[in-house]
């Protein structure tokens, strides 16, 4: 009897203890300050000022919203990007603000994050899947290059020879820009594209590629570049060949140095994307997701605007003044 009472008393105390412990810790978890959640900003490259602005704007907005934000540079290498996803999944990040290296190849990374319960918010560059990312905030590249193409006809004319420098061939933006531009210029049979080559969105490569093209085609009238870094590289090549000012150069992005070059008449035009708007919107979507919202449109286009000598006064610092 004595033993029985003792066991009962001990069992009761154990039960009370366990209940107190679990409820106590639950309550404690509710009242103690929340652990600062981590948000990863995975960006295709930091070797281009435009993407630095995109990454910094995403990181800064995430910090403003109370998160510990860390930038991962994929260096335009899908393998590095995959490693970043491995690391951030194991490190327990709460969300990823993502600028991919490959529209198709990056889908697997996004799916792995999703499977681990980590939502991914794409910025600027699209992944070609509708069920992987939580949302995609994307520039309307095609429309921008339609406007650029129309301006190209205005300043170059309906006859002439031109070169196109493409960006990364695995990036949908490369082709959306090219298709938008060609949807206009291809309607004018007097305009001949004498060369179309990729320079990987890279300034140095663009310089080298155009130098080689100029050897074979010294009589071109214009160069259409898929981004501003390549436009600056092309301008350098033309400068070295003594053709700056005679050959019109067109870029895309709205990078600060090119906006200034447009104002100075060195570059004919560019198209302003709004990296800060895209990055901030992606960070805000991630915050809303973490707070429980689930209804996001898969894709949200961001309008872009033509920057030429007439409109350049409106633009600066990667957006509208």
């Amino acid at each position: 009897m004595k033993n029985s009472c003792f066991v009962r008393a001990l069992a009761c105390l154990l039960l009370i203890g366990l209940t107190v412990a679990s409820v106590g810790t639950s309550a404690a978890a509710d009242v103690k300050p929340a652990v600062v959640r981590k948000v990863a900003v995975v960006v295709s490259t930091l070797n281009n000022p435009w993407f630095v602005v995109l990454a910094d704007a995403a990181r800064d907005r995430a910090k403003e919203l109370g998160y510990n934000a860390v930038v991962f540079d994929s260096q335009n290498d899908p393998a590095k990007e995959a490693q970043h996803f491995d690391n951030l999944i194991s490190a327990g990040y709460s969300a990823v603000l993502f600028n991919c290296t490959d529209a198709k190849g990056s889908i697997a990374n996004v799916r792995r994050a999703k499977a681990a319960g980590i939502p991914v918010f794409c910025m600027d560059r699209e992944i070609e899947a509708n069920d992987a990312a939580t949302s995609q905030i994307l520039s309307d590249n095609y429309s921008g290059c339609v406007a650029l193409g129309q301006y190209f006809i205005e300043v170059v004319g309906e006859e002439g020879k031109y070169v196109e420098l493409l960006g990364l061939v695995a990036d949908t933006n490369t082709w959306n820009r090219s298709k938008g531009f060609h949807s206009v210029v291809d309607r004018f049979p007097g305009l001949k594209m004498v060369a179309q080559q990729s320079a990987d969105f890279d300034r140095t490569k663009a310089l080298e590629v155009l130098e080689a093209i100029l050897q074979a085609h010294p009589d071109i009238n214009a160069v259409f570049c898929g981004n501003d870094a390549m436009a600056m590289g092309a301008y350098q090549a033309l400068l070295a060949a003594g053709k700056a000012g005679k050959v019109k150069v067109f870029g895309f992005d709205g990078a600060d140095d090119v906006v200034k070059a447009v104002a100075e008449g060195k570059i004919a035009a560019t198209v302003m994307q709004f990296p800060k708007i895209m990055a901030r919107t992606a960070a805000e979507n991630a915050d809303r997701y973490i707070k429980g919202e689930r209804n996001f449109p898969q894709r949200t286009p961001v309008a872009v605007e033509l920057v030429n000598r007439e409109t350049v006064h409106k633009f600066g610092d990667y957006g509208r003044k």
């Binding site: 009761c12 412990a21 994307l138 708007i277 997701y289 996001f296 898969q298 605007e305």
Partner: protein
Amino acid sequence: MGAPAGGNARRKPFVAWPVIVAGVGFAGLLVAFPPFHIVTKRADDAPPANASTGVVAVAAFDAVAFAEKFWSDQLAPAAARAPGAAVLLADLRRDPAAAAKTHAHRVGLGNAAFYFVRGTGRVTAVERSRLLLEINGAVVALRTGPVFGNVVRDGCGLLDVNQVPGLAEFNALSAELNRLVEARVQPPLKTVAVGATITFAGCAEAPESLPAAGPLLTFIPVTAEVTP
């Protein structure tokens, strides 16, 4: 018969204090080092929802078929009931920003805004790739040359990028709608003379400010009837 009274087997008093102290101590240890935690399930522990609205599965997208069906099923009926151009033009001449707030619709993020209206006007000039029309004292242009860009796709306000598999397909749809405008709507406009009357429905980009010269808006027509 009463209950057994225990008789002589008198129970020794149970000393409870050591047990209580031991139990409390044990409970204290459990509080300090809990063997498990009960925590509230957080909303973000759930797998990310496929929250897109109305996304079509990625499959071969037929822009031609999509555009044809959209044109007959949605665009033509919407053109017939589009708001009148006269009211928009009057508001636009007073205050472009206010007119945009009242009459324009926006697509995605950014500054792009569009009008979709119908109206009747008299041809005042025939130019290389456009006609100028006068509507209640305001001059607008109707494009008769090649149609570029997304003014029809985005301007009609009936299409969303999430209705198709991706941006490339959305752009292909835009090109196809432009082709339909050129094939179906523009041909009769290319032979009109000054003085003719045209009833049209069309899309136009909303300007930030009034143009210093020239037409207030340039419409891409999606329907047009000419009365010589």
